[in-house]
């Protein structure tokens, strides 16, 4: 009989991208040394474009000098995947979990992230599907509603998924999203007629779908985000 699995969840509100990277680095290190259990960060970013390890900046369609004019930052990261946009009203989950303790490789992990988002979309009557080969992510028809980009180091995950609740989709006009040229980006707002509750409720639903897909026995909702947001620069 396997031992019960606990997920600790931090709901952090809007967090600057670089700050979220520092928080994740610290948590990955703590997870590797077994100081913390599997941990999930739930948050949003201010308008931010990010690139993956392959630095596919040819998929940014405006000069970098224009980014401040549209109120956005650009960051290069070590995650997998191509260019993407993060912004208000897009729900982000960054799981910092041990894949070795569940015997998962990258493929199983990503497929389960996709299933979490598909299950979540179905709560609003939206029939989403996993991407075809080379189109990792979650789609409604030919329109992308959820993106994935992760990093796995010594079996511990960071970065994660982004699900469009109701972001300003115009920001996606300035990139070739995920390097896929001929497909649209969409959002929960666009795909459902259902009344959307407060975003806090929506985030909690997405978290619950994640916890269910990854078979956690216990979810611990951490109450004091300042504890984790107070990451010192030298910490």
């Amino acid at each position: 009989m396997r031992s019960p699995r606990t997920l600790e969840v931090w709901r952090l509100g809007t967090v600057n991208y670089l700050k979220s990277l520092k928080i994740q680095d610290k948590l990955v290190s703590e997870r590797k040394s077994h100081q913390i259990p599997d941990t999930l960060l739930s948050l949003e970013h201010p308008p931010t474009y990010t690139l993956g390890k392959r630095r596919t900046d040819h998929n940014l369609l405006i000069p970098q000098s224009q980014l401040t004019k549209i109120g956005a930052e650009l960051h290069y990261t070590q995650r997998g995947g191509d260019i993407t946009f993060h912004g208000p009203h897009q729900a982000i989950l960054y799981p910092i979990i041990s894949l070795r303790s569940i015997g998962f490789g990258a493929r199983n992990y990503v497929e389960t992230l996709e299933r979490s988002m598909i299950e979540f979309a179905s709560m609003y009557g939206v029939r989403a599907r996993a991407g075809n080969k080379c189109e990792t992510g979650v789609w409604v028809g030919d329109r992308k509603i959820g993106a994935i980009g992760v990093r796995i180091s010594c079996g511990i995950t960071c970065h994660g998924l982004a699900f469009n609740i109701d972001p300003d989709l115009n920001y996606f006009e300035h990139i070739v999203p995920c390097g896929i040229a001929d497909k649209e980006v969409t959002s929960l707002r666009r795909e459902t007629d259902a009344l959307l509750p407060k975003e806090e409720v929506i985030h909690k639903q997405l978290i619950t779908c994640f916890a269910k897909a990854f078979s956690y026995d216990d979810v611990v909702w951490k109450e004091d985000p300042s504890f984790i947001l107070d990451t010192k620069d030298d910490g």
Partner: protein, 156 residues
């Protein structure tokens, strides 16, 4: 299943090593050593060649990018030296031995999929000059690695 054993036998015969019979999917080659982070290593005197195992490539999905180390880099057993990307995930690869990189498989830049189709042969990643031949003792042989994979796969 039969096709994979046939493939493994051909690879093994090319590398002049023998195949371990396994009850399930991934191929494991005898006479190689294995790390618990799923890298294999072939040691020949003071030199070693390594890559990732069939189990690893199967669990990664289609590899689209391999980040190769520079020749001359010092690598340490158990420490990350590069990464592969598959299914929007970058996964660190750890060195199974310590030493200095003397050659990297440049074919992987144009054809990263060799890691999937030929993980023990054309998909080799790095050759090193060993700094501590004794470290190989810490690695698993094929039987232990097979058991290790079975235990890992039983977790889900």
């Amino acid at each position: 299943m039969a096709l994979r054993l046939l493939w493994a036998s051909r690879v093994a015969s090319h590398l002049r090593i023998s195949v371990a019979q396994r009850g399930f999917a991934s191929a494991v080659l005898k006479d190689l050593k294995y790390a618990d982070s799923h890298e294999w290593v072939k040691i020949e005197g003071t030199k070693a060649t390594f890559g990732i195992t069939d189990h690893a490539q199967d669990h990664l999905g289609d590899v689209v990018y391999v980040e190769l180390p520079d020749v001359g880099l010092t690598v340490s057993q158990g420490k990350s030296f590069g990464a592969v990307e598959s299914v929007k995930a970058t996964s660190d690869i750890n060195s199974p031995v310590s030493g200095t990189v003397v050659e990297v498989n440049k074919e992987l830049t144009e054809s990263p999929g060799l890691v999937n189709s030929s993980p023990y042969d054309q998909g080799w990643i790095v050759k090193v000059e060993l700094s501590d031949a004794g470290e190989a003792e810490k690695l698993m042989d094929s039987d232990n690695y097979s058991k290790f994979c079975e235990e890992e796969d039983a977790k889900h």
